[in-house]
Symmetry: C2
Subunit: 132 residues, 2 copies
């Protein structure tokens, strides 16, 4: 496998795209079809996989293929994320109580929570009100 990483314009443009959409969850398709990015399909997948492996972006599974999201230098790795099932918006749950929740699960349920991989699903305020 590749150990060294070259800095190419393709890689840079994909990373820049994530940096300019720091809260968005993007599919590979989003990037391939994005007019700002002129990169071959296979390269997009390869870059995404590299970037995810390096921790610069996060990857998670969804119904319509893998989603990728910018990882702002690890600053989102210590809090939970909420994702709205209706509009797809991601909220950052930075809150003391939630830190103690991880501890509680670790101590009392013997399970080491990986906060950065966990997404709590539900409905955001806006979607919840329009749905009733």
């Amino acid at each position: 496998m590749a150990d060294k990483r070259y800095r190419t314009k393709q890689r840079d443009s994909i990373l820049a795209y994530f940096a300019s959409h720091p809260d968005a969850c993007l599919t590979a398709k989003d990037i391939i079809e994005s007019p700002e990015i002129e990169v071959g399909e296979a390269t997009v997948f390869r870059c995404l996989s590299h970037l995810a492996k390096e921790g610069l972006i996060k990857k998670f599974a969804s119904d319509e293929g893998a989603l990728y999201q910018y990882n702002r230098e690890g600053e989102c790795n210590h809090h939970f994320h909420l994702k709205c099932l209706h509009c797809g918006k991601i909220l950052h749950l930075d809150c003391e109580l939630m830190h103690s929740v991880s501890e509680h699960i670790g101590k009392d349920h013997h399970f080491t929570v990986d906060v950065s991989r966990t997404v709590i699903y539900g409905l955001c305020e806006d979607c919840d009100s329009t749905k009733r």
Copy 2:
């Protein structure tokens, strides 16, 4: 769309398979390749989708395609689930504190948590100890 549902032996055998593996997370492939089940590929997908829509099983996304899990008459809909990133095991987090967590998120963060759709990722006790 189909509103009525017929009871067929294919549907029954798939449901029985879930009932006999109540904690397992199964892919469509698992079911198609299972020797106990003699059902066409397309039918498996159609049944899974029906069963999920009816709430008899739960569906969630993963890297290798959708996972389906038996839903024991809704009794898993009010607690969180923990999934080990290493061995894939699912644990049921039935605990008072966690109920109040949903409430807290609802009240203080204006987000209505859908417990049944949420999976908390991390490492279970066994995998955590072998990993260090």
